[in-house]
């Protein structure tokens, strides 16, 4: 085998080994993060102000400052995400139960793919809202600015903000009506509504 061939295969082996290390690290990171949904409280940081301009189910762009005095649940989602749409019935239930008591749920619709996939299209988002019976406000986050502002990594994700505008709970992952995570979020909402 010539010297150049040996060098080539040595480079190939090194590159593949590096890739394996990357993947291994990513798995460890993912596994460490998933139980976050039931992580204890302790957060109390001011929620950053979103500046989305395209809204559905709202006659004007909602701002964080106008929601002071209400508990706000942000749901980062996209209609192409099965885990997200599976969680919608629980969010609709929270909206029915707690809107009059001071809860505002806001969907932050953040596309995964570039515009060719249709996730940026306002009409498609409107159809999804109708399909899933979503009556709470939704902001289109087509440039992912709010996603990045809140350092979100997964669909679906949730951020619960108290009446003073502080982030109190965050989490992610699909949940269903009356399962354990549903009750955890339900309890968290009731806790903040009672403050």
């Amino acid at each position: 085998m010539t010297r150049s061939a040996l060098l080539f295969f040595a480079s190939l082996a090194a590159a593949l080994a590096g890739g394996a290390a990357l993947e291994s690290a990513s798995r460890a990171q993912a596994q460490a993060r998933v139980p976050m949904l039931n992580a204890p409280s302790g957060l109390r940081a001011p929620a950053p102000a979103w500046r989305n301009t395209s809204w559905l189910n709202s006659d004007h762009p909602l701002t964080l400052s106008e929601l002071k005095g209400r508990v706000v649940l942000l749901n980062f989602w996209v209609f192409t995400c099965y885990n997200c749409t599976n969680t919608v019935p629980s969010l609709v239930d929270f909206d029915h139960k707690y809107r009059d008591q001071g809860l505002t749920i806001i969907g932050i619709h953040t596309p995964e793919f570039p515009p060719y996939a249709g996730e940026h299209d306002r009409g498609n988002v409107e159809r999804a809202l109708r399909k899933y019976g979503i009556a709470y406000p939704n902001a289109q986050d087509n440039d992912s600015k709010t996603w990045n502002l809140y350092d979100i990594r997964y669909w679906p994700s949730f951020v619960l903000i108290d009446k003073k505008g502080d982030i109190r709970y965050q989490g992610y992952g699909e949940f269903h009506l009356n399962d354990g995570s549903y009750h955890t979020w339900d309890q968290r909402i009731r806790e903040l509504l009672a403050e």
Binding site: E23, A30, T110, I152
Partner: protein, 150 residues
């Protein structure tokens, strides 16, 4: 080269659970490293180095001739499901976007139960572009995006 003898044409490695692996900042470096690995792998294929898909890669592409064209198939590691509601896409350098499909779905129509594929016009030994796929791990309840510059 036929469909029964697919050739690995690229590999995708997760840079974690990041939505956009290509956003400016730290995520770029791993992707560059991954791309370099993929290019090296492509080079190996071109010089005749025989390769079989590695079972630990999150995603990888194979290609096989279909008539005058090339069928590119996207495979996922056993622990990953590919989101069928957001068909994987291969954005070619010229601006063309190939969407993967044509495979059976799971009972809930949410995921591909067999590897989806796309037909690339003409015969190709290499594929250059950006591969995007939305994937879910079996043991998680979240969606995540993988992106690779091929």
């Amino acid at each position: 080269m036929g469909p029964a003898d697919p050739r690995v044409v690229g590999r995708v490695r997760s840079t974690a659970c990041l939505k956009r692996a290509t956003v400016p900042g730290t995520a770029r470096r791993p992707v560059a490293a991954v791309s370099a690995a993929a290019l090296l792998f492509l080079s190996a294929a071109v010089v005749g180095c025989r390769a079989s898909p590695r079972s630990d890669a999150p995603l990888y592409l194979t290609a096989g001739a279909q008539g005058p064209d090339t069928r590119v198939t996207l495979h996922a590691a056993p622990h990953l499901k590919i989101n069928a509601r957001l068909a994987p896409a291969l954005e070619l350098a010229g601006g063309t976007v190939l969407r993967f499909g044509g495979a059976p779905l799971t009972a809930d129509s949410a995921y591909f139960s067999q590897p989806p594929s796309a037909l690339l016009t003409g015969r190709h030994e290499e594929v250059h572009g950006t591969l995007r796929a939305s994937v879910c791990r079996d043991d998680e309840q979240v969606c995540r995006s993988l992106t690779l510059e091929l």
